[in-house]
């Protein structure tokens, strides 16, 4: 047997096989070990954690379900409420973000927008004027907003004849994704102040609105690419078959972009599910989410690794299950044979 030559075309030489599978095995270990460590830590007594590492339950130490009992029985409602909060906030914000975002992405991939730079400038001016009127002149904010909006629209309309450079769809797309380039901590304080002003801190609503806004650019960016791969012929054909634009979108385009839709939904769901920073600002008790609860185990009596492990396990479990369930959609090439062939 030759060690460095493959036995036949399309297979690997024994030596390369050994190296590659060795590396893959090592990487698998690196990835899976933290998960293993979580599981064994969740059944350790505090003393087993404190006295240096022990690895194998039943061999190195006697496992105990005390942490699980504490989280599920002693804490009980205090575990389930944040859990339910996380489910509500993550699911609803993902639905909203994917719904609005994919429609925006579709519009950007199919219609041509030519916003004029001068209109954008006037709009910013209008917003600034409104803010000044409210803060410095003490105008009622409802009046200021309505008047500001009306005035801005009138001025923009009046400025139609003024020559101005035009922006295109790609500029809009870039502007959207640029919202994600900003570190979220920059926006966290203004968002906090805003919800404080309207008295909506620590509500599901505040979290859902914030997460939807934060995830929208990602949805638009990803779905734009998926929609661009749907052949235009199909939509034109459907239009001639008598379908309205919405029908074309929901019956032809969306089903064809399903793999992308599933992947995108999963991504924003996980982002919302794991989100920590904004939740820390916006929720205290009622709307507290699971990541906050996990971090809270580090609070008064030093890190409670055993409780944290239990919480992290139940936090990542639904994500793992969902990914396994949906992975067949993500890789599927539905467009095969759409046109020509």
């Amino acid at each position: 047997m030759k060690l460095f030559e493959p036995a036949k075309l399309g297979s690997m030489a024994p030596a390369s096989k050994l190296i590659i599978y060795g590396l893959l095995g090592l990487w698998t270990f690196i990835v899976l070990f933290p998960l293993y460590w979580l599981i064994v830590t969740s059944v350790k007594l505090p003393i087993h954690v404190a006295d240096g590492p022990v690895y194998l339950p039943f061999v190195d130490y006697t496992p105990s379900l005390h942490a699980w009992r504490y989280i599920f029985v002693d804490l009980g409602r205090d575990t389930f409420r944040p859990y339910l909060n996380s489910v509500i906030v993550a699911v609803l914000s993902s639905i909203l973000a994917v719904g609005a975002g994919s429609m925006a992405a579709y519009a950007l991939s199919r219609l041509e927008f030519r916003p004029r730079l001068i209109s954008i400038g006037l709009f910013i001016l209008g917003v600034a004027g409104t803010v000044v009127a409210v803060t410095l002149a003490g105008v009622n904010w409802r009046v200021a907003a309505a008047a500001g909006l009306a005035l801005t629209l009138i001025v923009i309309r009046a400025a139609r004849g003024v020559p101005s450079p035009e922006l295109g769809n790609s500029d809009i797309l870039f502007w959207m994704i640029s919202q994600r380039i900003l570190p979220p901590v920059v926006a966290a304080i203004p968002i906090y102040v805003m919800f404080q002003q309207v008295g909506m801190l620590d509500t599901h609503f505040a979290l859902i609105v914030t997460y939807t806004t934060v995830n929208l650019p990602i949805v638009v960016w990803l779905m734009y690419d998926f929609f661009s791969t749907v052949p235009k012929d199909l939509e034109e054909s459907a239009e001639l078959d008598g379908a309205s634009r919405f029908r074309v979108f929901f019956e032809i385009v969306l089903p064809l972009a399903k793999p992308g839709l599933v992947a995108t939904s999963l991504l924003v769901l996980i982002l919302a599910w794991n989100e920590y920073l904004l939740a820390l600002f916006l929720s205290t008790a009622n709307a507290q989410t699971i990541p906050i609860l996990v971090a809270a185990q580090n609070a008064t009596r030093g890190p409670q690794w055993w409780y944290m492990s239990v919480l992290i396990i139940i936090m990542i479990l639904p994500v793992i299950l969902l990914t396994l369930l949906l992975q067949r959609f993500i890789a599927k090439g539905l467009l095969l044979g759409a046109v020509k062939g």
């Binding site: 199909l234 034109e236 054909s237 001639l240 078959d241 379908a243 089903p255 095969l336």
Partner: protein, 350 residues
């Protein structure tokens, strides 16, 4: 129903892709828009479908002004070059989609789809997905989807060009038969002159966004309006020789021939079709030429001969053979030659 284009024009920015086009497709007529790529034929079709806006002019379908009407409200069916079958729907659902959109109930849809599927011999494939079909079958599904709702007009954008040559010939015959049977007005776009000649009741030949000639296939072939039409139609293309016409005498460099034209014209192009030419001995022909190449096609031999630097093609008897370089005479009946103005391409008439 009629399709009328009244001075329809289209520009993309400064580029004028279609100049004022006037066209009237009669009820039940099969009209072919023929032209090379960039001639504006597809743009014209897409404007009739409503997929492209009209820069100026009016479009009427069945007497109704549809210039500003959405595609879905024009009640025309279109077959795309790519077939544009919905990949996530079965053949049944593909064919039934126009009916579903119109809100027909399931029973009616099933009955109509079955009826149409029978017409195009697709009964056995109704449960399949487009990716499981051959090119010819996909083509049939696209046709079935177009005819299922009995539209006022068919629009076809090179529907046969994705098929291989043999299947194309077969589908051509089927298409012609079906159109005749249904009697639905059809506007058909192609760059293939054979398709145009065989399918059309009338051909509209476009070039550079301008209508060159609108006529029955036989007239387009036998009585071309200009040099472009004469050279576009016919395979191999018409032979042309540039020269000068003086008192009916056409002279090209070293040679001159008499014509029936009783007039003079400075820069003139003489055209004659390869099948009207015959080979004689060097002294008797209208042109004296040297054999450049001979190609056996099967039922005839294609002879290319060189005269004064210009190549002439002659369709000769299948038994013809001659060595390369041999001097021959090229003859043709006087009434089979065409004369055109060399600059404008306009046909000169006697």
């Amino acid at each position: 129903m009629t399709i009328e284009l009244e001075k329809v024009a289209k520009s993309f920015g400064p580029v004028k892709v279609l100049h004022e086009l006037d066209l009237k497709v009669k009820p039940g007529e099969f009209l072919v828009l023929l032209g090379a790529s960039g001639s504006g034929k597809t743009t014209a079709l897409r404007m009739v479908a409503g997929l492209e806006t009209v820069s100026s002019g009016r479009i009427l379908i069945g007497g109704r002004d549809v210039t500003e009407t959405l595609p879905k409200n024009r009640d025309v069916a279109m077959v795309f070059q790519s077939y544009a079958l919905y990949p996530h729907k079965t053949v049944f659902d593909n064919i039934g989609y126009p009916l579903k959109v119109r809100g027909l109930d399931k029973g009616q849809i099933a009955a109509r789809v079955k009826e149409v599927a029978e017409q195009v011999q697709l009964q056995a494939f109704l449960d399949r997905y487009p990716r499981q079909l051959s090119g010819g079958q996909k083509q049939r599904v696209a046709l079935a989807r177009a005819i299922v709702r009995r539209p006022v007009a068919f629009l076809m954008d090179e529907p046969l060009s994705n098929l291989d040559a043999k299947l194309r010939g077969h589908m051509r015959a089927e298409l012609k038969h079906m159109q005749q049977e249904l009697g639905i007005t059809t506007l058909y776009v192609t760059h293939d002159q054979v398709e145009a000649m065989t399918l059309a009741h009338r051909i509209a030949l476009l070039e550079g966004g301008k209508l060159q000639q609108l006529d029955a296939p036989a007239m387009i072939y036998n009585d071309p309006a200009n040099l472009f039409v004469a050279q576009f139609i016919g395979s191999p293309p018409m032979n042309v020789v540039t020269g000068e016409l003086t008192e009916g005498k056409f002279s090209a460099r070293s040679q001159a021939i008499n014509t029936k034209f009783r007039r003079s014209h400075k820069k003139t192009v003489l055209g004659v079709r390869p099948e009207d030419c015959s080979i004689t001995n060097a002294e008797n022909g209208k042109f004296r030429a040297n054999i450049y190449a001979t190609e056996l096609i099967g039922d005839h031999v294609l002879v290319t001969a060189k005269t004064d630097g210009e190549l002439l093609t002659i369709k000769a008897n299948k038994n013809f053979s001659a060595p390369m370089g041999a001097t021959i005479g090229v003859d043709f009946p006087e009434d089979r030659l065409f004369l055109f103005d060399a600059e404008t391409g306009v046909r000169l008439r006697a």
